[in-house]
Each structure stands twice: as C-alpha cells, then as structure tokens.
Amino acid sequence: MREQWARRIALLTGQLVLLMAVLFAVMQNPIEPTTATGGGEQPPAAEALEHIDLDPKDIEAGFQVYQRKTCARCHSIAGKGNPRNPLDGVGARRHAQALRDWIIGADVLQTVMPARAFNIKQAYRELSDDELDTLLIYMQSLRPATSRPIQAEPVVKPAVVAAGEGGNCLTCHSNAGHMMQVVIPPAAPPEDGCAAAPSRPAFLNAFVNKEFTATVHGEIGCTGCHGGDASAEEKKTAHTGMKVAEAGCADCHSEIVELHDSSLHNTMNGMAHALKLRSGEDNYHKLGTVWNNDCASCHAGCSDCHLTLPTAVGGGLIKGHAFFKRPPMKDTCAVCHGSRAGAEYLGQWQGYEADVHYEASMHCVDCHNNDLHGDGQTYTNRWQVSGRPQCTDCHAALPNKTTKAHDIKHQDVSCQVCHAQPYQNCFSCHTSMKEGEYQRRAGHKRLGFKIGRNTVPGYPYSIVTLRNNPVARNSFDHFGEKLLPHFDDYPTWKTTAPHNIRRVTKQNRSCDSCHGQEKLFLQESDLEPQSSDANQDIITPPARNLEQGAQY
C-alpha cells in the first residue's frame, strides 16, 4: 500500500520534473533555432574567399588549432559546438586585432568580456605565434556567405604588435578610474587670452579608449609610435625609452608631413616677421627667450590638430586617442585662435552673433583648405599665402546688382567693413621674468570695431577693419632698452578680417549707419599714449560727401 504510493509519488515527481524541463527548453527556444550559415567544420572553399586574401592552407591550419584547443567547448560554428557563443560570421564582425585580443583575452577586454570568459581566455596566451596567426586567419575566414565582399584586413604579425602589447599599456591608460588618480592636470596656460583650453577632466588627456586598438592607427601598437616598454608592468619601466610619437607620422603620411614643414603653423613666420620688422635683425636675436617661451610655443604639429588639444594649452588626447582627419574645431582651431577668430566665429561674445558661416555648419577647414598644411613655399605671413580663403571664392565679386551698396563706389571697401561685428582688440602686453621664469603679462582687451586704411601690402581693399595688436613700445623692456627701434615705422592697428560675418550689421542698415557714425572709424582719440607714429597714417575720416538721408 504505502510502497505503491511511494512509487507513484516518485514517478509523479519524475514526470513533473520532466515536464518542467521540457517547458523550460521550449520557453527558452520559442522559435526553431536557425543555425547560422558560413564557417562550418570544413574550412570554406577557396573560391568563396576570392575577395579576401587568406591562404586556404592557413585556414586549414587554423581550423586544426581550433579543433586541437577544443574551442567548441565554448563556441559553435555552423551549429557544432556550444551554441551559446557562435562564431559564425565573426570574421566579418571583428577586425583582425580585435579577433586577436578576443582569442587571448587581452587586457583591453578585461572589463568588456565576462570575467569568466576572460579568465578562460588567459590560457590561450600560451598559443605559439604560428598557432595564433593561423587561428586568426581561420576566424577571419568565418564570414556570412551572403555578406558583401569585405576588403581584406591585413593580418598584423606579432612582430609589429606583440601579443598583449597594447594590453599592458592599456591596462592603465584605458582604466578611467586609474587615470583619474594619476593624471596631473597641466599647468593653466598664461592668462593672456590668446589661447584657452576647454574645461574638462584632466584624466582625459591620457585616457585611451580600448576601441582605439581596433583602428588603423591602433594596429601599429602603442610602442610603435611612442616607444617605451609594453611588456613592463609598472609605469617607470614602461615609460622608459619613450619618444616623440609625431616623428612616426611621416612613415605613412610623408607627403603631408613634408609640406607641413613650410606651413605657417610650423614655421610661425608670421610672428617672427612682425617682430623682426620692429626689432631689426640684431635685436631680434636678443629676444630669444621671448621667442622660445612664447611665440614658438604656438607651433602646431600633426597631433595638435588631429589627435590632441594644442600643445600650447598643455595638450592632452581629445577623445581617447581617436585621430581626426577633420580636426574638431572647438578643441583644436578655436583653442589657439580662441580669443579672436575662434570666439568671434562661434559667437562667444555676449551681445553679438556667431558668424553666419558657423550657423551654416561650416568648419574652419571649409574655407581654410589650402593654407594649413603648407604648399612647399615659405611665406612670411598669412596674407601672402597663395590660395588663402577670400570671400569672393564663393560670393561673386563686386559690382553686384543685388544691392546698391555693392557698387563701384565701395569696391575698395573690404567685405568686413560692412558685414563684421565688433571684435576683440588687445593692448600693450609686457614681458618679465619671475623667479627665473619667463612671464608674459597681458595688457587689457576691448571689443571694438574700427575702420581705417589697409596696412597689408598687396591686400585688394584700401578701406578695411583694423584690429589693435598687443605690442607696445616698451613690451620687451625687460630684456633691454629700445629693442624695438622700428616700432614707429609700423602701425599697431592692422588690417584684420573679423570672423563674425552677418549679412545685416549695425553699420550696414543705411548709409548713415556707417557714414554718419564717426566712432566706427579709427580716430586720434582711439590711439593709446605712446602709440606708434605709423597709426596716424591709417586714420581715415568717414566719407562725408553724401546726400543727407541717402538710402541704398
């Protein structure tokens, strides 16, 4: 009696458990599972791989490694092996370096992979170079049969990127928490208003996104550009033997790098020229300290635009070591050119609007496309650069029938005179030494708008907007008296092209808005005491011979 009941309940239990198990399996697999195509136990036929440059022999060898290392314990290909981690099509999904990292559980993946998987993968670091290479090729051969042909990824040989090389570097550099603790914020740039770094956490300067390793530059490996010792496990040895990474740019981009030698971003000739005109050749050499610590610090190399914040503000990776073909404007261009063109263009002055071109989503390089990388010619200043941007590159030259103001009478007037808004002027910067360190002391700044005569030889307009430059008669007195003997030969108010263009401005609403506004024109009273005598020559009174109330 009791025996029968015991048997019945035992059987009932077994049946219930079986039912639950079937239910579980059905619920977990609501639709008939489809096994992925591609891959397969047999290496794909050679002709299927025509478009990718993989040797069928290598694929076969890689398949053998896959078998030997019982990868199917955790992975499946074409339904064979553990279905939880299918590898079908992985060759199309992952880059060569990423595949390598995933196979060996590179340190970069420590926070990406499940800890369990990461630990298991560590064992595969012991694969020989040959095994790893062929296994990688086998993985690359696993592509969906239906996918469009994919360009072959070069298989990076361990000779270029040692296994886990990026790994050791990235153990620290990709660990945000760690970087936050160890990165010292760079010294704030001098408050002269020329350049200002965007405000952001300092650790970003040295933080490398793990995904970088999967990019073209990432494949070179950290030490490929930076030197140092990737196998080291602590910072000091790892950083020993590091070199200037930029030296490596020429390996691939030799043409651009060569031209860049002549670029004003590299030569800084504009500054040197302006200084030399006033100091003369002899005195110029006495200003070496100024040049080295100040002017030359604005030098821009490859990375200053394409990788990091400009060195002038302390540098630092813009975004996890991402390279930018088109420099991010606000993080690069506008950082060095921030107090003038940058702030104007972006509309950062309160009460004034941004440049209409910026509002139309135009980037600096949309106009400045010829003058940044250099063309092999040595120019002494930007006004000379052949192919430098002109408004008329896009906007037809005068006379233009659309508005009377674009008539023959105004053909000597630069575009900005009518279409720019007030802009920044800097006055009387000084130099000094403090505790043996070179110092620049900013003078004062003022937003203003002044019209006067052109100061640039060869400039196509005679009436232009003028901007005051910060040099003063006694700017360099700390380094000796009368170091600028030719100060009075050149004006401090100079032709400028403000980058805050609007179609309608305060001064172009009517004839009187300009012709009747004397304060728009540089006047005697605008000049600082001790101002350069040459400023007198560029003052032009407003043209008065207008009919009263004349309207365009």
Binding site: R2, A6, T13, M20
Partner: protein, 444 residues
Amino acid sequence: MKIILSATFWISIYLALVLAPLAVLKLGEVPPGSGFWWDFSMAMGFAGMAMMGVQFLLTARFKRASSPFGIDIIYLFHRYLAVMAFAFIFLHFLIIRLDNVDALGAINPLHAPWYMTTGRIALLLFAILITTSLWRKKLRIHYDEWRMLHIALAVAAFLLALGHIEGVGYYIDAPAKRWLWSGYTLFWLLLIVYLRLIKPWRMSSRPYRVTEVRQERGDSWTLALAPQGHQGLSFKPGQFAWLTLRESPWQVKEHPFSFSSNATDHDGLEFTIKELGDFTRTIKDTQVGEIAYLDGPYGVFSIDQYPDASGFIFIAGGVGAAPIISMLRTLAERQDARPLWFIYANNEWDNVIFREELETLKQRLNLHLVHVLKEPPTDWQPDDVQYESGFITPALLKKVLPGETRKYECFLCGPKPMSDAAQQGLHALRVPMDQIHFELFDMV
C-alpha cells in the same frame, strides 16, 4: 484524515523543493536559449541536482515529516528518487554527448576547464553511489563502511556538481539565482551539520545503560536498556529506533532495531536481536553497564495507529516477532479484550523466540496463536499448541484465520518470501490493502 492532510502537505513541500530550482531559472534576466535539446539537457542537469539535494533531507529522519508515511517508506522513496535523479543527470550528459559532442571539450583534466572536470567526476561519483547502494551485498561491502562511503560520496559528488554549475554559470549568472543556489548548497551543508554533529550531540546527552543481556531462543539476545539521568523515550508498540553500541554517536555506526518491550514501561527498553549480520553477532558480547545511545522512535508499524480496529492479525517469521511481542505485551498490559491472531513461522520448535511467554500471554489475551514450523519434530503432538507444518501460504492462512478476516488490521514482519506469501493470502481473503501493514527493511 489528519494523516492524509499531513501527508499531502509534506509531499507538496517535497515537490516545491524539487521544482523550485527549475522555476527559478526562468526568473529575472534569462540568457537566451541555445536550442531545444541543449536547454532540455541543461534543465535535466538542474532538475537532477535539485532532486539530489533533497535526498539529503529525505534521510535526515525528521520525525514530523516522516510520521505520516513511516520512515521505512521515506528510505524507499529516497531510493526511487536517487535512481531517477541519476537518470536525469546522466541524460544531461548524454544529450550533449550525442547532440553536440564538441561542446564537451577535452576530457583530459589537464586541458579541460576545471568545472568540466568536476562535472565529469561528479557524474562518476553519482554512478558509484548508486551502484554501491543498489548492489551493496553483491559487492560485499560492510554495512558500516557502506554508510560512511555513502555519505562521503554523496557530499563529494554534490559539491563537485555544484562546482560544475557555478563554473559554467550560464543560467545562474544573476545575483538572485546565485543566491538561491548558494542558499540551496548552504541548506544541505547545514543539514549535514545537523545530522552529523547536532543530532549526535543531542543523543550523547541522553545516554542509556545496558541493564541486562539475556539469551533467547534461536541465537537471539535481548538487550535491556535503562535511561541514565533523563526520562527516556516513549514509543508506540511496533516502532523501532537506531541503536548505537560501543561507539560514540558521532561515528555513524547506528543500527535500526524494533523495540520488543512493553510500551507502557518507560524505565526499561528492550530490543530482541538475532545474530544475522556483522553487528548483530556482537550483541552477546555486550556487558551490563555499557553505554548505549538511541535515535527514535520511528515507524508506523503499530497497533496504536489504528485505535479503533476491531481486532489484529499478526504474521511474523523468526525474529520478526520482536515488534509483535512488543504489541502483544502492551495489549496484555492494557488488558485489551479484542480478538488477536498470531501466525508465527519458524524453522524449528527449539528456535521459537518468546515461545514460553507467548503461552502465558494466551492466558491474558484473546489470542489465537498458530505456530508454523518448517520442520516440526516427528511424532510430536503437544496438547495446547496449535501448529502447522511447512511455510506460510495463502492456503494455510485461509485455514487458520477467521472468516471475517477483512474486519481486522494485519501486521506482517518477516523475511521477504514470507511477507509476499502472507500478502497474497490476505488479498485472497479480501483484506483491503490499507489494512495490511509491514515494515520495509533490508533495503540496502
């Protein structure tokens, strides 16, 4: 009715314990499935483990949970379920082995992941566990050694299999599920602590002293125990207890024996034990004054389960008379007038245990005593002894039992051939199944 409710309750608890781990797999964030057979296999693994876990509970001798069924049946249940759970666990392995052999990876433990190795070892240990239990005697494994082996294998296999689950960790990779499985493991470990440490400790604080070792007929010995510094225990006549003799309660060397004494006498507990096995052959060497420990009482083989019965039929063979004599002694003490039949089978007249006492009990009770002797002495014709020759058979029972047999509760205790024959005979006499009671023993 109360018993049925209670039984239903405990069976529900059991089913919940077995099925909960499977249900929990579907709670919270569930990783995607990997094909029907794969997931069915995984479910089999989890189910098998849940059942294996509850196995510890089944043999923990919880009096309350076992009382509606009788603890002997719980052991039977334990045995059925062990086979079933092992079948599930083996299926778990077999499905993957057939469906997707690549996913098993390397067999060589040097190359295989540790959790696959623990899984394999656990499967092997479970197999050994089952084999040594189902065929202990054929394998000639000593009972005490088998028990130690059984516990060690069970714990080792269970822990290794848990390691396998934890190591693979696919379906339990959520904090809640990990908690559940950790909790489950902890529960079984605590159970083992309770069984092997706390319960023995409680037993050790309630010792008994051997007051008499009395020889009985038929190579049997009666061991009389008296509680030392405590109240002793009260049992229902027919129940049994686990006896530990000459060992500490921690050594897992206890053996189950039926009480043979009068249940109304709390000061003297008696067990009548026949020399049959390794342990029972040593009973006669027991000295008066030795310390013994008891875990009990257990069992539902008792007249007290059926207080309203109109009479009782007892059928026993050899030392199977021990629980019967306890019931008869108790009934006599209670001056019970209900009609009683005792069909008592033995090989030889000289070996009939309690022979003389049964004669005196006949005076005090309404007892119809029928001896069944395999080899009765030739030319033997005693006056006051009713006896039959041969074995207990349906025909014999029909002959000696009253016509209204189906009114009475029947208690069988003896070797399996006797018990089977008696059951057949009672069925033939239209005795309802639920009136036939017998202890299942000698399962391992």
